[in-house]
Each structure stands twice: as C-alpha cells, then as structure tokens.
C-alpha cells in the first residue's frame, strides 16, 4: 500500500483530504507568536529594570520601574489571551478536521467488499476509524501547539539575544544546534527501543485477551496454570521492556539539564571575558541567563515532536491506506434501473478468485427464467455461497457477466438493485435495537402496523406475540437476546418488507428447534413463492421442492436438473445424497 510514504507526504496528503485543516492556521500561528511574549518579556524587563532603574542612577528610579512594570503586565495579559485563543483554535480545528476524516474513512470502508469478505480483519478496520484517528488527533493538537510555540519562542529569544550581544547569541545558537542534532540521534535509538516495547505490549494484550475470552475453555480443560503462567510472563516481559526503554529515555533527556547548565556557565564565562568594553551590560548578561533556558526547552520539545511525528505517521499511513484502497463495488455512474417486470438471471462464463490467486469459481454458465425456484447445493468450499453473492453483486467477478432482467448487474444503480433484489445471508445480522427497527432497517419509515402485518403474512404472529415486548422487544448486541433461529425469522421478515422480485437466500446451517423449524420453513416458503428465487440449500427438502437444482463442486457447476432426475443420474448429487442417507441410517 503506502508503506514507503514519508510522514511529511502523509501529512500533506491529510491536508488534501481534509479541506478545512489549513483554515485559519496562519492566524493561529500569529496568536501563538504573540502568546510567546509572556515568557520572552521577562528577561527584557529584568535587563531594563536592573540596568536603567537600579544600576543606572544614584538612586533607584521607582516611577520608571513601575511604568515598565505596567507596560509588561499589559503585554502579558494580551499575550496570555492570545495564547489561550491559539490553543483553543488549534484544538477546535483538529477536533473538527479529524471528525471529518473519520467520517470520510468510514464512508469509504462501506464501499469496500473487504468489509464483509475478510471478516478476520474487522477489528483492524474498526481501529482505522477509532484509535488510529484518536492518535492522529492527539498528535496534531499536541505537536501543532508545540511547534507553533516552540518556533516562536526560539525566534523571539534569538532576536532578543542578538539585540543584547551578537557574540553571545552566536555561542548560544551554536550550542543549541549541536544539542538539537545530538537529540535527534538519541531519538533514533529510542525509537527502536520503543518498537520493541510495542511488540511486548501487543503480546501481553493478546495473552490477557485470550485468557479472558477463552476462560470457559481454559476451565473446561483445567489449564488455569499454564494460562496464568503465559499471562504472567507476557506482562513481565512488557514491564521489563518498558522499564529499560524509559530509563534509557530519561537518561537521554536529562542531558537537556546538563546541557542548559553548561551553556549557562559558558555564557557567564564568555560574557565576563568580553567585558563591559564590548557594550555588554550587567542586566544584559543576566537576561542571557534567562534566555538560555527559554531556548533549550523548546528545542527539546521540537525534537520530541519530530519523534512522535514518526509514530503518528504510521497511523496516518494506515488511514490513508484505507482511502487509497480502490472502491471495488462502486455504484455505476449513469447506472440503469432494472426493468419493471419479473426478473430472470443469466450468468455467463462467471469466475471468481481471491486476491491470493485461489480460484473459487470458474466457467459458470446458467440462465434462470422468471419465477423459477432454484436450489444450489454443494460441499463446503464448493463455491455455492460465492455464486450467490456474485448474483446479487455483493462481490464482483474476476471475469464473466451476471445479468438480471437483461441488464449486466454492475450497470444497475444500487438503489434499484437493492430494492428489487433481496439477499438473506446465512447469519442475518441484527442491530442492537428493537425487532421492529430491525425489520424496517431496509425500508425506513415503515410503520409498526405494516411490520405486524409482515409477520402475519409470514405466519409468525404467534412467535412475535410470544416475545416479551412483541415487536418492540430489544434484541441486544448482535441479536444476542434471540436464538439463532429467531434471528433468522427477523432476517426473513426484513427481506419480505421490500417484496423483491428476485430473492437470493443462503440457508442457515445451524440446527434449530423443531418447533421453530416449522415456522422457519413456512416463512421461507411464503417468502419465495411468486418470485424468482435462488436458495443456497443446506436442507434436502429445499432441493426436493425446487424447480431445478444446481450442483457445485470444486468451484464448478457440475450438474443441474430436477431432484429425482439427479438422484438417478449417478453423479455428485446422488453421491452426496447417499452419504447423507448412510449418515442417518446407522
């Protein structure tokens, strides 16, 4: 993907992706600059009061000192407001900009088939719109402010030094530069150590996670000892790596103090040696002692910012990686609507393979007349579910064409396709809301009466009434309050709501209660009657009741025909049937 993209390039890219990100940045920087006066004014006031008011005359000029003090206080109050406004503006900007980015990435995710195909990557995809973005946001706020204040402080402090004595200013600038470069080298070393820490953290998180998620398994096998041992050693390894790295870090960064002290000593020595003849005043030299401290701290912050930029860069690259993943299931530009008549399906030379090159489906040719009831059967991995997904365009084929109602399916507008073609997956997903809301998910705005009617149409009134709150019953996270079979009932009713002309249904494999099974069968029968249907069948009865059975084997359509004909044909289907009969008759 973008593994070679530099952090700067990633940052530039972000500015392009989020149009508002640069807005008002100059003003914010200006305000931050004014805010720096808060710190830089002190050395100047010290110098003026010492040189002019205290040492300048016979007696201390109090009214003059008070005047200067008044001006300084006024300047500081202004500066303080300016800084507050700069910090707030930057926080507000990054919060808004990152919200925009988060929404944009999320919207893009929903246009990628990997979201539902590579289920094991789901956790990582969620991280793209949550933790990765939080990290970028923290960095932008913290580093943005650090950079702005740091740079202005360096500029103003150097300007003040140059004003007092250029030789001393040169000494300090040289010293700080050398120190800054040394810090950069330290950072590299630390960066590598931090990578090791991150690995240990990931290990210990994984050990912790497994010990909790797998707790019932651990208990069932009496493996508490080894499990605790694994957690303990992972957690200890994390502690050791962290301690080592942080100790190294504190040693490197305490060098800032040594450095600032050394520079202060050098400034005093050189300043005195330069002497009053050079034009250096007592107040001027004392001001330098303050200015040195004002310079060392921002240099340290700037270097740390550079370092965290590397880490934030990794997050940015991941997020950009999502945006750069081409949309593989795009709504066609100038797409067509499906014809307003019963729909047929024609499949020509259809093939599908994974990006890894594994061929899942090839050379599939079939046409299905309107109103036909088709069953698709085959062993696990035969490609039957992939076939179903290709028909409804939840996947795009590697080659070949699917036509619905005479229109190539990738030329059909999504709005038309999803309205006319229904798909019920094996595990219908339920959202954490009520039964009614789940049913109307595909048809928002439908009222409760229509939903009750839909359950009645599918013969499910009795079941719905048995729920604690009827259609207002909450289903819990992922539908956990309902059984697998009950979730299927909701998914079927949801499909019924849109009265599709073509229905593709992937039968669930998991066994359900016989009583519920009767309801399910009846609901499915009513759902598919009167329309073109393709059912990925896991039940023999589905195949028996179909107009035609399509038999898939190793990614190919190997047989088709009516159930009784296939039984006597002596092919894959009759072998499957024989296996099964043997299995139950033992």
């Amino acid at each position: 993907m973008n593994s070679e993209m530099t952090t700067t390039a990633a940052l530039r890219r972000l500015f392009r992706e989020i149009p508002g990100l640069g807005r008002g940045l100059l003003l914010t920087a200006g305000l931050a600059m004014v805010g720096t006066v808060l710190q830089v004014a002190i050395p100047v006031v010290v110098q003026l009061i010492i040189d002019i008011d205290i040492l300048g005359g016979e007696s201390v000029d109090i009214s003059s000192a008070a005047r200067r003090g008044g001006v300084a206080v006024a300047a500081m109050v202004v500066a303080s407001f300016a800084r507050r406004s700069a910090t707030f503006r930057l926080s507000r900007l990054s919060a808004s900009a990152l919200a925009t980015l988060r929404i944009k990435v999320f919207a893009h995710l929903h246009r990628l088939s990997s979201l539902h195909v590579q289920s094991e990557r789901r956790g990582a995809l969620v991280a793209r719109v949550t933790s990765d973005i939080y990290r970028i946001q923290d960095f932008m706020e913290w580093a943005g402010m650090g950079m702005m204040i740091g740079v202005s402080q360096v500029v103003l402090a150097v300007a003040a030094m140059l004003f007092y004595r250029w030789q001393l200013a040169l000494l300090v600038v040289l010293g700080v530069t050398v120190y800054g470069l040394a810090l950069l080298v330290f950072q590299r070393i630390l960066g590598r150590a931090h990578d090791r820490v991150r690995e240990r953290v990931a290990d210990s998180m994984s050990a912790l996670g497994e010990s909790i998620t797998g707790l019932p398994t651990v208990r069932a096998y009496g493996a508490e000892g080894p499990t605790l041992h694994r957690v303990r050693s992972a957690v200890d390894a994390q502690f050791k790596a962290e301690f080592k790295t942080y100790s190294l870090g504190s040693a490197l960064f305490s060098s800032a103090e040594v450095f600032a002290g050394g520079l202060t000593a050098a400034v005093v020595g050189v300043g005195i040696l330069l002497g009053a003849e050079s034009g250096l005043t007592a107040g001027g030299l004392i001001a330098f002692l303050f200015l040195v401290n004002l310079l060392v701290q921002p240099v340290q912050t700037l270097v740390e910012t550079l370092d965290s930029a590397q880490a934030a860069g990794a997050g940015m690259r991941k997020v950009i990686g999502v945006l750069d993943t081409p949309v593989d299931l795009a709504d066609p530009v100038d797409g067509m609507d499906l014809p307003d008549e019963p729909l047929d399906v024609a499949v020509r030379d259809l093939a599908f393979s994974y990006p890894t090159g594994d061929v899942v489906l090839s050379d599939v040719n079939v046409s299905i007349a309107p109103g036909r009831r088709i069953a698709v059967v085959g062993h696990t991995g035969s490609g039957k579910t992939t076939f179903a997904k290709l028909v409804v365009r939840l996947l795009d084929p590697a080659s070949g064409v699917v036509e619905i109602g005479g229109v190539p399916v990738d030329r059909v507008r999504f709005a038309s396709l999803r309205a006319r073609v229904g798909y019920v997956p094996q595990e219908g997903f339920l959202f954490d809301t009520t039964v009614a809301d789940n049913v109307r998910y595909g048809r928002p705005g439908v009222n409760d009466d229509a939903i009750r009617l839909a359950f009645a149409d599918l013969g499910l009134t009795e079941w719905v009434d048995s729920l604690p709150d009827g259609i207002a019953t909450r289903v819990g996270e992922g539908g956990s309050q309902l059984s697998a079979g009950e979730r299927q009932l909701v998914a079927l009713t949801r499909a019924w709501m849109s009265q599709p002309d073509l229905l593709v249904l992937d039968e669930a494999t998991s066994a359900v209660d016989p009583a519920l099974e009767v309801s399910l069968r009846r609901a499915i029968d009513r759902l598919i009657s009167g329309r073109t249907s393709i059912t990925v069948a896991h039940r023999l009865s589905t195949a028996e009741a179909s107009d035609e059975v399509l038999v898939f084997d190793h990614g190919r359509l190997v047989e088709r025909g009516r159930h009784p004909d296939l039984l006597v044909a002596g092919g894959v289907y009759s072998a499957m049937h024989r296996d099964w009969m043997a299995g139950t008759r033992t």
Binding site: I49, G69, A95, P216, A220, V231, V235, E257, E517
Partner: protein
C-alpha cells in the same frame, strides 16, 4: 456488575474535592505500601531536583552580586570568582540531571510493576471465579478492566514523585524569598499559591467533562463495530448511507465534546500560565524599591526572578496528579469490583482413584440448578454406567446444555450432587477433575498458538498422542494440508479455519487428554453430518476408555447412543433406549417425529 459501573459513568457531577483527596490518598497509599522502595527512590530523586533548582537560583544571585555587577557595571577586574561561578553552574546542572534520572527510574519501576501486578492478579482471580458469574459479564467489559482500567489505575503514579518534589520546591522557594525579603515573600506566596489553586480547580472541573469524552468515544466505537460486523446486511439492503449518517452523528457529538473540554481547559490553562510571569514583574518592580531602601541587592532580585522562571513547569505537576487521580480512582474502582467478587470455585483435595477405564456418573435424585431466581433443572436423577454412550435429548431451552455443564463441573448445582464413580465432583482437586472429565462445547475458542499447541493445551503430549487424537476427531487430514501442518498458527493473527474444522480441533484437544468421561455439548454442530457420524462411530469403537455424554440435535447422533435421556422443562421425563422411549414417552416421540418428518429435510446436504 461491572457493566453497571461502566454505565453509571455518564457525565457525572463534579466529584467533591474532599472525597477525591481522601480516596485518592488511600489509593496512592495502597500502591506505595506495595512498592515502598521504588517510591522512596523516586521521591529522593525528585527532592534532589527541587534542591538543585533552589540552589541554582541562589548561585545566580551570588554571581550577579559578586561577578556580573562588579565587572560589567563597576569596572572591577576579573578574578578567581569567575572560575568558581562557572564550575558551580556546571555542577548544579549535573546534580539536577541526576535527580531527574533517579526520579524517573523509580517512578517508571513503581508504575510498571504496579500495573503488571494488577493485571496478573486480575487474571488469576478471574481464572478462579465461577463461570456462572463470568457468563453474566460482558467479555468486552472484563477485557477493558484488565487492559485499560488496570493501566489507568496506575497513571497517578507517573507524576506523583515529581509532584512531591514540586511541593517541596514551592515551600522552599517561598521560604527563600521570605528570607531575602518578607514583602517579596508575600507577593511570591500569593502568586504561586494562586497559580496552583487555579490549576487544581481547572483539572478538577475539566475532569468531569473528560468522562464525557470517554463515553462519546465508546459510542463511536460501538457504532463502528456494529456497522462493520453487520456490513453484509448493510450492503445487501443498500443502507450504507444510513450507516454513514449514524456514524456522522456520534462523530460530531464526540467532536463537540472535545471542543467543549478544550474551551474550559484552555481558559484555566491561560490563567495559571500567566501567573508566574505576572508575579515576576510584580517582584521586579517592588524589588526595585526594596533595593532602593537597601533591604536587598540586585543579586537577590536575580535569584527570585530566576527561581520563578524555573518553578513554573514543576508546579504544574501538582495539578497533573489531581487530574490523574480522578481517572485512576474511577479505573481502580472497576478493577476492585472484579477483584472483590467472592464467587470462586472451591475445590476439594481428592486425587484420581487411579482407576483405568471409563467412569460412571450419577446424580442424586434431588439435583437442582437455578440462577437469577429461575429454576433451570430440578429433581434430576441420572445414572450413567461406565463405557456407555448417552444422548441427552430435549427441545430448546429444556436445560440439556445446563445439565452437561454441571457434569463437567463448569457450574455447580444449587442443590444435590453429581458423583463421578461415586465421589462428589466438588471433592476433586482442581487438576484431578480436569484429568478425568473433558468438555467440548458448541462455541470453540482457539488460542493464538499452533495447531499442536491448541491440541496439547496445557498437557504434555507427544506427536503420537496428538496425531492419534486428531485422527479420532477427523482433523488429522485437514491439519496436514495446512500451510505448516501441525505448526500452523491459528487464532487472531494466524490462519482461520472453518467452523467445522475448529470444532474438530477442539474435539482433538479433548481426546488427547484421554478423559474417562467425555462430554459433547452439540460439539459437532458445524461438522458435515457424514463426518460427524464417522467421528461418533470411531469414538464408540475406539480403544479410548471413555464414557460419552452428548447433547444431540441430529437424529443420526441420537441413534448412535446406547441410551437416551429425555428432558423437558428442566425435568427428566424418560430414560432408556431409543425404542423404549418412543413407546413410553409421548414428548420424546413427538420430538423424534418432528425430526423424522423433517428427516430428509432437517439434515444437511452440502
């Protein structure tokens, strides 16, 4: 319980400062008592740092009076005092740096160790708790407690030593300035103490809002998770735009919360940031008058100004501690809630009888089980003879899974007892029971480990035993076809297997232990029926000395059992052979008829 605690975290009222201080001090005290040495080291380093700052300011004052003013203003010649000044400044810098290293090392050690201890203790505690308790918790909440809460509990330890040093520094500075001049002392004290108070108030006021940010972040994650999990359904129904709209809603709420917190925080921040420089200006102006009356020198003024410029950052640490303590307290309360759950499984001391061969299992007639006030099983009377294969059959919700869970002592009965070879399951030592009974459930958990590691899982098993178990479970053939065979990594970061393959690996994991009682709770639901039949046949015929209890849904599995126990609504309505039950128990006959009417269709064609 944990879930309640998390839910009640909704933008709560600002905590009372007093109770925060008391509870915070108690928490900190507890942590310090656990690691007193590293804490003492850290504080020692921090005090050195504070002392070095005060001394450096005093030295700057002396240099001003003794070197800078005489030479640059009075025109005096340079003398040996210059060298002394330079050396003193350099040495103080080294002192200060050493203080920092000592403080940070001590603090890091203490915080890291406390965190590691908390996590290990949590896992150890959880591993011993009743599964009935675990089951009532959300896994996500327990994970959050052991991961982020255990981490956050200790965050207060990070700035604590530095803050103790800063407190010393505050007191030391005020004292020094008082010694130099009492009037300036009052100004300094007022300025600095006001700063600390503003800082603390800010931290405390902002914190309540900060919980709001956490809640909004939680919402954002929840929507993202749900939307990604349900992606197929979203796409199939063409509802992508709606999902984006939903996510936009929570995202913007999060944004607004962040902006609101920044609005408050930056206000307090600006005020406390301005106070030290403003105090410095006041000190300089008033100091000039004090020099005029001869109460002090220019060097004294330099000392105070220098001290004020160095003290500003350390003082912020006092606010940091308060900021962290509220977060740490909230997190630690959640940790404590889990640690305080007194629901551990108690084991006896009974060792296995050393008996070879299959085990018998019996319940006494009064066996009852219920939870949360619902009776799930009652008056269960079962006697399973060694070597038998028994199918537990019943409609959904009849309690069959619960019953076999009791057989494996994953849960304990509310009344009555279950006896293995005549001995109460609860009297067995932990390790003993695991050696006798193996339980395989429908939901399989595979660890982030190799296939071999997942099968052996905590027992010493050689290749021969592992392969043998895998063959029995019909897993060997597909395992050797995996990229690295038995060394293929599974789990989160490894190869993913199909549901049926996962179940077969789990079965091998149970078989490698050569249990005397094997319990299968719909453990082959995702396995192709023909393969399932093969597995069950092999189990019956194998040399494995095992009694098998299986919860069966499939007609084919039921017919493999020697005996059937029929359960309905938590009661045993009949036991005997399949044929006996068909004749004598109407409920069983009805259920089997439903299976058989379904016969051809109930089962799977794949």
């Amino acid at each position: 319980m944990v879930a309640d605690a998390v839910a009640s975290g909704v933008v709560s009222d600002v905590p009372r400062l007093g109770s925060l201080a008391v509870d915070g001090a108690r928490l900190i005290g507890r942590f310090i008592r656990a690691h007193p040495v590293s804490f003492a080291i850290a504080v020692f380093g921090s005090f050195n740092f504070a002392a070095a700052i005060v001394v450096s300011a005093v030295v700057v004052g002396h240099i001003t009076d003794d070197v800078i003013v005489p030479v640059l203003d009075g025109g005096e010649p340079i003398d040996g005092r210059l060298r002394g000044a330079v050396i003193a400044l350099a040495l103080i810098a080294v002192w200060k740096a050493t203080g920092i290293v000592i403080r940070r090392s001590g603090a890091t050690w203490m915080q890291g160790r406390t965190q590691a201890d908390l996590r290990t203790r949590l896992v150890e505690h959880l591993l011993g708790l009743e599964l009935s308790w675990i089951r009532r918790q959300s896994t996500g909440d327990l994970l959050a407690v052991s991961d982020s809460d255990a981490g956050q509990s200790t965050y207060v330890l990070g700035p604590l030593p530095f803050a103790s040093g800063a407190l010393m520094l505050l007191i030391g500075s005020i004292v020094i300035v008082f010694v130099i001049d009492p009037i300036l002392g009052v100004i300094t004290a007022v300025g600095l103490i006001t700063k600390v108070v503003v800082d603390i108030t800010g931290a405390w006021r902002t914190f309540a809002r900060f919980e709001g940010v956490q809640i909004r972040r939680g919402e954002t994650s929840a929507v993202a998770h749900e939307s990604v999990d349900g992606a197929l359904t979203v796409k199939a129904l063409g509802r992508e735009d709606y999902e984006v709209e939903r996510f936009t809603d929570v995202s913007l709420r999060l944004r607004d919360e962040l902006i609101e917190i920044a609005r408050r925080f930056t206000l307090y921040d600006a005020v406390q940031d301005a106070l030290p420089p403003l105090t410095t200006v006041a000190v300089l102006v008033v100091g000039a008058t004090r020099i005029d009356v001869g109460a002090m020198t220019a060097g004294d003024l330099a000392t105070i100004a220098y001290l004020l410029s160095l003290i500003a950052f350390p003082l912020r640490l006092i606010g940091f501690v308060l900021w962290e303590v509220s977060g740490s307290l909230a997190a630690y309360r959640r940790v404590q809630q889990v640690l305080e759950v007194d629901d551990s499984v108690r084991y006896g001391a009974l060792e296995p009888a050393g008996a070879a061969g299959a085990a018998g299992l019996a319940s006494d007639g009064s066996l009852t089980f219920g939870y949360d006030g619902d009776i799930v099983l009652s008056d269960i009377d079962i006697d399973i003879r060694p070597g038998e294969t028994v199918a537990i059959v019943g409609p959904t919700g009849s309690g069959k899974s619960t019953l076999v869970t009791l057989f494996a002592r994953l849960w304990d009965p509310s009344a009555g007892a279950i006896r293995l070879d005549g001995r109460d399951l609860r009297d067995f030592a932990r390790s003993a029971l695991a050696g006798e009974v193996a339980f395989v459930g429908q939901d399989v958990f595979l660890f982030d480990d190799t296939v071999r590691g997942n099968i052996s899982f905590g027992v010493d098993a050689g290749d021969h035993e592992i392969f043998e178990a895998a063959r029995l479970a019909a897993a060997h053939d597909f395992i050797v076809d995996l990229p690295d065979g038995y060394d293929t990594r599974l789990g989160e970061r490894g190869t993913s297997l199909s549901g049926g393959q996962r179940q077969r690996v789990a079965l091998a994991r149970a078989l490698v232990r050569r249990p005397r009682l094997l319990i299968l709770d719909d453990a082959t639901s995702a396995v192709d029926p023909s393969i399932e039949t093969g597995i069950l046949l092999r189990l019956k015929e194998s040399v494995l000395p095992s009694t098998v209890v299986l919860v069966a849904y499939r007609r084919s599995s039921i017919s493999l059992a020697d005996r059937v126990v029929y359960i309905e609504e938590g009661r045993v309505l009949g036991q005997g052979t399949h044929d006996e039950l068909l004749g004598s128990v109407p409920g069983y006959a009805r259920l089997i008829r439903a299976y058989e009417e379904d016969a051809a269709e109930r089962e799977t064609v794949r």
